[in-house]
Amino acid sequence: MLLLLRRLVACLFVCVSLALPASAQQSDTPIQLLLQQFGPEIQKSSRKSIGPAIDALANSGLPDAQVVLERWQAKDMWFEKETGLFVFGAKADGGALTLFDVAGGLEIGTAPRKSYKQLKPNSGIRGMIASALVQFQLNDPDPVTRQRALTAIERDAEATHLAALRASIDVETDAALKARKARLERLLTIRFAEEDAERIAAIEGFSGDLSVDLRAALNPLVQTRLDVAQSLPEGAMPVDVGEGLSPDAAYALLTAQNLAPPRTDPDMLRAALIENIDGDQIAGIQVATLDTDDARAAVYATLAQSGAVPPLVTDEDVATTLERFVFFEAFVGAPVPVALAAQTALKDIEAKLAMSQTVDLALDGLSLASIYFLAAIGLAITFGVMGVINMAHGEFIMMGAYTGYVVQLFVPDYTLSILLAIPLAFAVTFAAGVVMERLVIRWLYHRPLETLLATFGVSIALQQLAKNIFGTQARPLTAPGWLDGSLVINDVIAISYIRIAIFVLALIFLALFLFVMNRTRLGLEVRAATQNPRMAASMGINPDRINMLTFGFGSGIAGIAGVAIGLYAKVTSEMGADYIVQSFMTVVVGGVGNIWGTLLGATLVGTLQKGIEWLNPSNTLAAQTYMILFIILFIQFRPRGIIALKGRAAEA
């Protein structure tokens, strides 16, 4: 509406001005006078000298200042070569220029372009203009512009913004923007306010806040510099040599400030000796004998006595020199009281951060635990319940993940493809499990070591087969859009939706396992057949069929786990092998034959691994190494796992 009105007015003025002669440019408007005052600087357009001109325009309080700055930035300003008067210009046909007044923006006719020169501010100047413009934009009627101005200040604040920001808070109508402005005002107060008391009050006002921008505002305030002097200046914190500062570093500081001669390090010593080689001798000593540090130091001392080289600075010299000076840390970012307030605030923040980080670490551990649980739950069935060592379990996980990948090749919609992939992965790996059970495992039920070997063979073959079909590079399994992003609780605690989904999936599997084992006929028969196959057989249960179905069920769950793990990590032919040892560890640590044990085992392994990673960051290899060592030791003390079966079930 406003825009329409403006255009209407502009149109009207254009109609009026057409009647006027071209020379009606006014040279005595306040804005033109101000521009003329800085005429040479503006025409020169140099980043070094333009500052005062922009500041004067921005702070002039003239209604036209904003428009002038904006059009200058947009390279719309021209000046007349003869008079130096500034106008807005628009290129017209035939080498002409349509002129507009800088005051009011009215068209004042056309003129040949030759007699005018365009102002072309470079990107540096345009940036300066932009930051000057920010204060105008803070009061812009358009909320989007105001928001953008706030973002610009947040990114790159200047001392001048503070006053403009303060002025704009009271007139702000949008509640959200007002709150944001108020917060930004306090941040800028911390950084730029002149009164120390004001800054301290602002710092204290933020207590309890953990945000990154606050930390960014506070951190420069508490910056210190290590310095040295004969006596301790006021407000500086002394640093003891030997405790907070190594003697070498302290002496290096002295050398850097030319307060002491540089230490004679082995390189300098060698260089000095080489310089003084005289035939095959140095100071009368044979060069060939100088193959120890002591011999070299002795020769150097001789040279120093004769004055050929600077005297040797020994450890004793260093110690006596250091005693003459005091080393201290001095705040360089802010006056001492402000710095101290900032330090207290930062300490407070750090304590709270540590707590949040612990929570975050626990969440990370939990999500890793749910991945291990997913990988291990199939094993908990085939290994835990049936006692079959299936080393190809990892390859079933991989088959599930590749099934998901192939489904995505045919079904482009990610949500639909995942929903399709889960039952398909179950079907594929169920079938693979049944085939393997029929062909291989059932002949080896009483020979566990041979089962292990035969399934190794299958594992090697399946892995190579996947390599032959899909190649060695990693294949993506893309999660649907609604699983992108993460749940942000505060600036530290965040957990991605995929991890939450995997966690939920793990819980669903736990429930499914418990339901099938405890509440269905199949579960009853499985438990019967594993506890006492002969008795179960005489009760009319067909152990062959039960074994086949149970093995298929465990393998099928591995397939679904494969889809979930594929979403979280890349799909490669080796992905199963990466999980197989950890999966077996999880089952063994938890206690074979008990799903709750597997759950506990996964939690233990997952959180412990994250904990070790935290102690030794950016080194997951070491974390895995120590994790495995821990498990080996753990099995020493509880060979049957956390939850050991007792009674008859244990002997079955």
């Binding site: 060069v287 041979e450 035969a454 073959a461 040892v581 060592l629 020493q636």
Partner: protein, 418 residues
């Protein structure tokens, strides 16, 4: 003196182990044959690289012997013996790399105006060796790398001690069967993951390289070095075979076979099962370490991937295919499968054109190996070595009853009943 009459007279070692005599004979003939045909001292029909392949195969046969002793005879399916093999390789590799770099550094520093101090030489060697992992100082683990005798001792002691500690922990808490297999696999995985780190002090995944060059022997041609290592490997294999044959003979051998067949019964008879198992586990780890120390100078490079659990699984595959529970079976399996594997993966095997698809053996060999492994486990538990029984069985009287000797693999009596 009357006791003597009661104990049956002990026969000579060779008579008790006819296979050892035959094996040593064949090995000697093979060694002489290769020497005559190779470039180093013979007529040069066989290339140096093939001599190295044969020498490496002999080392693999030696580690397979160790695997057979611990698995085929004692029933411990260890998936960690290739880790001990790798440790042996690393131990000798450290000296080879240190000594060779020392010569290079000394040569380059000799041109400097001042004679180098020991510290300068050591710094120069460290910078040369650890430059690739961004370090320039010797980690503590290299403290003995300058000394060949100490590193040779490490070849024996480090795998031995590791096996002793690990075995003691595992056996005393009665971890047996598949649990022990998984535990040894975890140990191997932990070791290889540790070595993959750059700050492990062993150059991370770069491993140790240039091991084929013997320090100070720059003017000896590789053809000669290769045949020397071939002889050393053959000697080690021969001695290893004799030692294994000696260990599995007599009462000691009977006890370890009994442990394999029924551990609980041996324990109830009053034997210290743990001590026997620990001895076998440690001694085989030492043999594996020695085999590795001979293997890697011929291979020229060692890196943590060589220690990965899959290597130990392949070792079990060789022994199973060759026929476990008989020493010559392990040797046959290792030689047969590793040479076949070299042939297939080396791209020398002819592709099979099926019309719609060409089977390239580089890709399909592993699948064939995996499946044949399944087949051997299911249908021929005696492996290739079982073929010899066809000959031997013709002369044996049929004694009926369950055959639970070494030739029946790891079958237990109750299993054989079914």
């Amino acid at each position: 003196m009357t006791d003597l009459a009661l104990t049956p007279p002990r026969r000579a070692f060779v008579l008790r182990h006819p296979s050892a005599v035959i094996f040593i004979g064949i090995l000697a003939l093979f060694t002489i044959g290769v020497t005559v045909l190779a470039e180093g001292f013979g007529i040069g029909v066989i290339s140096t690289s093939f001599v190295k392949t044969l020498g490496k195969t002999l080392c693999l046969c030696l580690v397979a012997l160790a695997m057979d002793l611990v698995w085929g005879y004692c029933g411990i399916l260890s998936l960690g013996h290739m880790a001990f093999f790798g440790i042996g390789g690393y131990a000798i590799g450290m000296w080879l790399m240190y000594a060779r770099t020392e010569i290079i550094v000394q040569t380059s520093l000799a041109a400097a105006p001042l004679p180098p101090t020991p510290q300068e030489i050591s710094d120069g060697i460290a910078a040369q060796i650890f430059g690739v992992v961004g370090a320039s100082e010797f980690p503590p683990i290299w403290a003995f790398a300058h000394s060949l005798p100490l590193q040779l001792a490490a070849v024996v002691l480090v795998p031995g001690l590791l096996a002793l500690v690990f075995g003691w922990l595992a056996f005393r808490s009665r971890v047996t069967g598949v649990y022990l297999s998984i535990l040894t696999q975890a140990m191997t995985l932990a070791l290889s993951l540790y070595l993959f780190q750059n700050d492990s002090g062993l150059r991370g995944n770069n491993g140790l390289s240039g091991l084929q060059n013997l320090p100070g022997q720059g003017d000896v041609p590789q053809s000669t070095i290769s045949i020397l290592f071939f002889w050393a490997s053959a000697l080690a294999l021969g001695l290893g075979y004799l030692m294994c044959a000696w260990v599995v003979s007599g009462k000691f051998g009977s006890v370890i076979r009994a442990i394999r067949d029924d551990e609980a019964r041996v324990r109830f008879l009053g034997y210290s099962v743990e001590a026997y198992k620990l001895f076998i586990f440690t001694i085989t780890a030492v043999i594996a370490g020695i085999a590795g120390a001979l293997y890697y100078p011929q291979a020229g490079i060692i890196n943590p991937a060589e220690i990965a659990p899959i290597a130990s699984i392949y070792l079990a595959v060789w022994v199973a295919i060759g026929g476990r529970g008989r020493l010559y079976g392990a040797v046959i399996g290792a030689a047969f499968v590793s040479l076949l594997s070299t042939w297939f993966t080396g791209g020398q095997a002819p592709d099979i054109n099926l019309g719609v698809y060409t089977v390239q053996w580089v890709d399909w060999w592993t699948i064939l190996l995996g499946l044949s492994f399944v087949g051997v486990t299911l249908f021929a538990p005696r492996g290739i070595g079982g073929l010899f029984d066809l000959v031997a069985a013709r002369r044996m009287p049929n004694r009926h009853g369950q055959d639970l000797g070494p030739d029946a693999g790891a079958l237990r009596e109750k299993e054989a009943d079914r």
